[in-house]
């Protein structure tokens, strides 16, 4: 009886091992036949290619591993920006779709239907080349507030030049830890004594006072560097100083968030509509204000419906960011699975690392969202 249960599993296991073994053996034999060597040693070699935009210090004299980190951080950067904006736009549009105002409801619906039905790659090309055509050359750019310059060569913004930046960061971390403690204390107090503590005010206070102290006592100092126009040749200009966000980053983030927001909007709509009308009426009848109804009754229940499909959208956005290669944004695929792969020819090694990296990123997002989902789920007693 037991044997009959185990046998199929055993066979499955053997088959899986055989298939993997066969493919890796096959790859090995074929690589050997064609004189291709295998190994990860190249990661420490000098990369000898440059990247246009990097969050960490990098140039061609660094290693391929460093180039990998540059690509990875750029992927994370555009994903995080995309997720934040997609969430904001998605929530706003999702709620707008439930509006009783006909114009708002229709506008939101048209937006959703329009953007989710056009392939993402086309949208990325559209935003990139539309932006390139529409944006002014550096010398013709109108300054925004006198210090921001949006040009075809990028968005030039003032940068902070820090002294003792680490102390400032510690102070922010300390503030966050303090807020976590205050929140835990306030929750306990409410459970035990029924009194409420103004957590929000105290939190804001911490966030202002601690970093402020770091300026006054910690020797932290920040000055602002404003981009200045510079002439490269008779007709070509750029900006020097400050921070430069490449147009590739802006158009990619724009395309990703506008596209993904449509799906999130539908999740939000489904979530809010999924809370039965009786819940709201019951909440109102016990004297809760409309705000409290939304915060204490509708949202906690809607979130349970919203979170799982939204997780999928976050994962999609992160994976879709690999389309960056089409418009020269130096993400993981362009830098590592593109240039580095070409220069080393190590296809199997680099593709396997890249796949593992995306897998890790996705699983991390998944784990976090599952944790959050569990946290807000109804705890049946």
């Amino acid at each position: 009886m037991n044997f009959k249960k185990i046998l199929p599993q055993l066979i499955t296991l053997v088959v899986v091992i055989l298939v993997f073994g066969f493919f890796s053996y096959n790859a090995q034999v074929n690589m050997e036949n064609r004189g291709i060597t295998f190994g990860y040693g190249f990661l420490s070699q000098e990369s000898s290619f440059d990247v246009q935009f990097s969050l960490i210090e990098y140039d061609g004299s660094h290693s391929y591993f460093r180039a990998y980190l540059v690509g990875l951080l750029n992927t994370i950067l555009v994903s995080v920006i995309g997720i934040i904006f997609a969430t904001i736009i998605g929530v706003v549009v999702g709620i707008a779709r439930l509006s009783s105002n006909y114009l708002i409801e229709r506008t939101a619906a048209i937006y959703v239907e329009f953007f989710r039905n056009i392939p993402l790659l086309l949208q990325i090309f559209f935003w990139y080349f539309a932006a390139l055509r529409a944006l002014p050359l550096p010398e013709k750019a109108e300054p925004m507030f006198g210090v921001f310059f949006l040009t075809i060569k990028g968005f030039f913004i003032p940068a902070f030049i820090w002294n003792n930046l680490d102390i400032f960061i510690y102070s922010v971390i300390a503030a966050i830890i303090a807020i976590i403690f205050v929140r835990a204390y306030a929750k306990k107090k409410q459970e035990n004594e029924g009194t409420q503590t103004p957590v929000l005010l105290i939190s804001i206070g911490f966030l202002i006072i601690l970093p402020l102290l770091s300026f006054l006592l910690g020797g932290v100092d920040a000055s602002i560097e404003i981009p200045v126009i510079e002439q490269l040749s008779k007709t070509s200009f750029t900006y020097k100083g400050g921070l430069k966000l490449p147009p590739e980053l802006i158009s990619l983030a724009l395309a990703l968030s506008l596209y993904t927001a449509t799906f999130i909007a539908e999740c939000v709509r489904a979530g809010v509509q999924g809370v039965s009308k009786g819940q709201k009426e019951a909440a109102a009848s016990i004297g809760l204000t409309p705000n409290q109804v939304l915060k204490l009754v509708v949202m906690p229940q809607a979130l349970r419906i919203i979170i799982p499909p939204t997780t999928n959208q976050y994962l999609n956005l992160t994976k879709n960011s690999s389309l960056a290669a089409a418009i020269a944004y130096p993400d993981l695929v362009l830098v590592f699975a593109g240039t580095a792969l070409m220069q080393t020819g190590r296809a199997i090694e680099i593709v396997s690392i890249t796949m593992l990296t995306y897998l890790t990123l996705s699983i991390t997002i998944s784990i976090f969202m599952n944790w959050y989902n569990k946290k807000i789920a109804i705890k049946e007693k």
Binding site: G60, T235, A326, G338, Q343
Partner: protein, 346 residues
């Protein structure tokens, strides 16, 4: 019990699939590219996604160019018909993987011959069909007339995964100039971005610059700077490990160049059979048994010359007459001041 039987059958089926895979790899172990090509009836050739003069498809899908002609020559030699080629357009990034993973048998895609490519990643370069060098294109009104006029902060558009990317860094580093590399996977996007003003300069092989300039909205507003910053010998590539196939591709290319040297053209090839010069007679297969050494018949080289033409004809048809690079420069025969020099066919 029935369920168990069902599962067992699926397992057996899987083993059957595995087994056929294994036998196939065993057969391919000798890498009989020639045999496979003859069996299929066409040559599988990897080309660019559109580079006028080298490999470019017209509206009807007909490929032309000097790189294309190398594959056509091989098809004429091996299959007897220069039109029996299946072209696969590849990006710079895809090209080597396509070759090593058996999707194509010849990569003839303006590819630079370097040591690491030749020795490290399972490829073999068989020769050079175009001697090139990297240059820069700028706007005429920019006032830049030499590479020495570039200043720190200059942004340069180019293709990713090319030797261009590395040369560019070497060049700007040696000048001590900080630059901004903007790299795209496809050449069309590089051109579009440069055209829109995203970059101050567009850098790639000079032949490529000359060819891509035609695609700009106002080609006359742009010019290629005189300096050449690198050596770029471009040539066809095959997979490592099949020396017969390697020889066929190498000598198909050499035949075209040698035919030009001896004045054998597509028009007069047949009449050359009765030439007094034994070298010419060997070239058109009227003397010697050169074809047998390659596993081909003795008319192989005659077919190349008759159907594709000699190197000079191919250059004129594809590069000179299209206005891309009327001057042959180093790609002239060694007897006429260039560096085209191939080993003798004997």
């Amino acid at each position: 019990m029935f369920k168990l039987v069902k599962r067992l059958t699926s397992v057996v089926a899987m083993f059957a699939v595995l087994f056929t895979f294994t036998t196939e790899t065993m057969a391919a172990k000798k890498s009989k590219t020639l045999k496979n090509t003859q069996k299929k009836g066409f040559v599988r050739c990897g080309v660019s996604q559109g580079l006028p003069g080298f490999s470019n498809a017209d509206a009807a899908g007909n490929w032309t160019g000097v790189d294309v002609d190398v594959c056509r020559a091989v098809a004429a030699a091996v299959l007897g018909d220069a039109s029996k080629v299946k072209f696969t357009p590849l990006s710079a990034k895809e090209r080597f993987t396509a070759l090593t993973s058996n999707e194509i048998d010849i990569l003839s895609r303006n590819t630079t011959w370097t040591l690491s490519r030749d020795a490290d990643i399972g490829l073999t370069f068989v020769g050079v069909n175009f001697y090139d060098g990297q240059g820069f294109m700028v706007r005429k009104n920019s006032g830049i007339s030499s590479v020495n006029d570039f200043k720190a902060g200059v942004s340069a558009c180019t293709n990713l995964g090319t030797t261009t990317e590395l040369n560019m860094r070497d060049f700007f580093n040696s000048k001590g100039i900080k630059y901004e590399p903007v790299t795209f996977e496809k050449a069309d996007e590089v051109v579009a971005a440069y055209d829109a003003g995203r970059c101050d300069t567009y850098t790639t092989d000079k032949s490529g610059l000359a060819a891509q300039r035609i695609k700009l909205s106002n080609p006359d507003d742009h010019m290629v700077l005189p300096e050449t910053i690198s050596k770029e010998p471009l040539g066809p590539v095959v997979r490592q490990g099949d020396s017969v196939w390697e020889d066929i591709v190498r000598w198909s290319l050499n035949t075209m160049i040698e035919a030009e040297e001896y004045g054998v053209t597509s028009a007069n090839a047949d009449s050359m059979k009765t030439s007094d010069n034994p070298a010419v007679k060997r070239l058109v297969g009227a003397e010697g048994e050169l074809g047998a050494a390659l596993g081909l018949d003795n008319e192989w080289s005659l077919r190349i010359i008759k159907q594709v033409g000699n190197y000079g004809e191919s250059y004129k048809r594809n590069i000179a007459d299209t206005g891309i690079l009327p001057d042959r420069g180093p790609n002239e025969l060694w007897t006429k001041g260039g560096i085209l020099y191939v080993p003798p066919a004997r």
